[in-house]
Subunit: 236 residues, 2 copies
DNA sequence: CAGTGGTCTAGACCACGCC
DNA sequence: GCGTGGTCTAGACCACTGG
């Protein structure tokens, strides 16, 4: 029995699994809060905390006086916070990268400011072509503070997920991204890589990644192929 | 005294106001949960519910053992759920619209499906040029089920916010949007409106708006000016 | 009416950060 | 050790939807 996982997390996992396996069907009602209290032998506030979380994440919705229901739309997390590699795998593609450059630099002042470091502190600069099933999908430029990630340059980012390494090796899990997105005309070198010709339409996405303490972890500036990559976003 | 507003909502409003007026500064600690208990003469669970909400919305973050802090970045709600008019006002522009067409149609099957109505049920089709300070920013095409919004065609959408009317007149508040976003080359009629020339780069955004019961309220398909409009999005 | 979710109480013990 | 947030209890009353 001995569980150190909080009860409310056990309940959210339980309900999530039942949704994902289709035991709780889209649009259908799920057991009442009281029933979960009995099943998990816990108090109602604990059950409510579990359900609150799933409502917030968009899995469930409540109607007062009637019950709690499974959301209708196909659930999709904001996959972008989990990085390109994870995202592509979810979509069924094989992600890969081709390193354009990986070096240690003095940052541009605007980038230092976004990373909340001094302009005299070094940053890693990692530039990669991101591919799905060997087709170029995006050009990604990432800047990371050297101080926070000593020895980062000893890893290979051809196959490894940057986010995975930050999380497992440096205990820096990205939980939030603030991004600016707009359409751009891509030309020159970037266009030849992404489109194989001199011009093409792309989407520029640039912003800062934060960890749970709201400390900036990385600044990324990427250009995505306009037609091969479609963002799927949920606004609340 | 007599307040029918829940205590936890009073507390969220209180804290929000203190953040917005700068009394609680970005990155600084706010009073402990116990202090709010005393101040509002309530229990800790109620205070936590209030703070939970603000943490979820990105206003605050907590560090166990230390305290609760105001988020560093400039707070910005997913303004897109509130519609173009509201969004532009927030940014300090004067929004306006020019109606291209407003009619009742049989929907395309794909649109009927997204709105979860029968293909034989009518939809309103509203097409507008959206402007900020009289500059064309986007072309927006919206489809709404006639059954849900009888008499919608009696309103003027030159100045009025569509979302405002849905909310106040039809009790249909949009709380969630699921959108697909990608960059496109705009040409022909649309390009002449947005760019004043034959070609330009734009961002296409199309998706469904849902109310609190997760019932589809509208389907929108819009094209935004690539350089005049920059999406500012927070992913969690 | 009974059953659901919405709000709230007045405590409790634990895990963590800091001094 | 002390104060913070993290989890949890065992009740309570209210507001709403349904039959």
């Amino acid at each position: 029995m001995a569980e150190n996982i909080p009860i409310y997390q056990q309940i959210t996992s339980y309900i999530k699994e039942y949704i994902e396996t289709g035991i709780y069907q889209k649009g259908n009602i799920i057991p009442s809060e009281q029933e979960f209290c009995n099943q998990f032998n816990t108090s109602r506030m604990t059950v409510r905390k579990a359900i609150d979380e799933l409502v917030n994440d968009g899995y469930l919705y409540r109607i007062q006086g009637r019950g709690t229901f499974v959301s209708h739309w196909v659930y999709r997390k904001s996959l972008e916070v989990l990085g390109f590699s994870y995202h592509m795998k979810q979509l069924g593609y094989t992600p890969s990268s081709q390193i354009i450059s990986f070096e240690i630099n003095i940052p541009q002042p605007s980038i230092a400011e976004r990373l909340k470091i001094l302009p005299t502190e070094n940053v890693f600069y990692l530039s990669r072509v991101r591919m799905a099933d060997l087709e170029p999908i995006a050009i990604e430029n990432v800047y990371l503070p050297e101080k926070r990630f000593p020895g980062l340059d000893t890893y290979s980012f051809e196959e490894n997920s940057l986010y995975e390494i930050l999380k497992t090796k440096y205990n820096a899990e990205v939980v939030l991204k603030q991004e600016k997105i707009h359409a751009v005309m891509v030309a020159g070198h970037d266009a030849r890589i992404l489109f194989g010709k001199e011009k093409g339409v792309g989407m520029r996405m640039n912003g800062v990644d934060f960890d749970a303490n709201m400390t900036p972890v990385a600044y990324a500036d990427s250009i995505y192929h306009g037609t091969k990559y479609i963002f799927d976003v949920i606004f609340r």
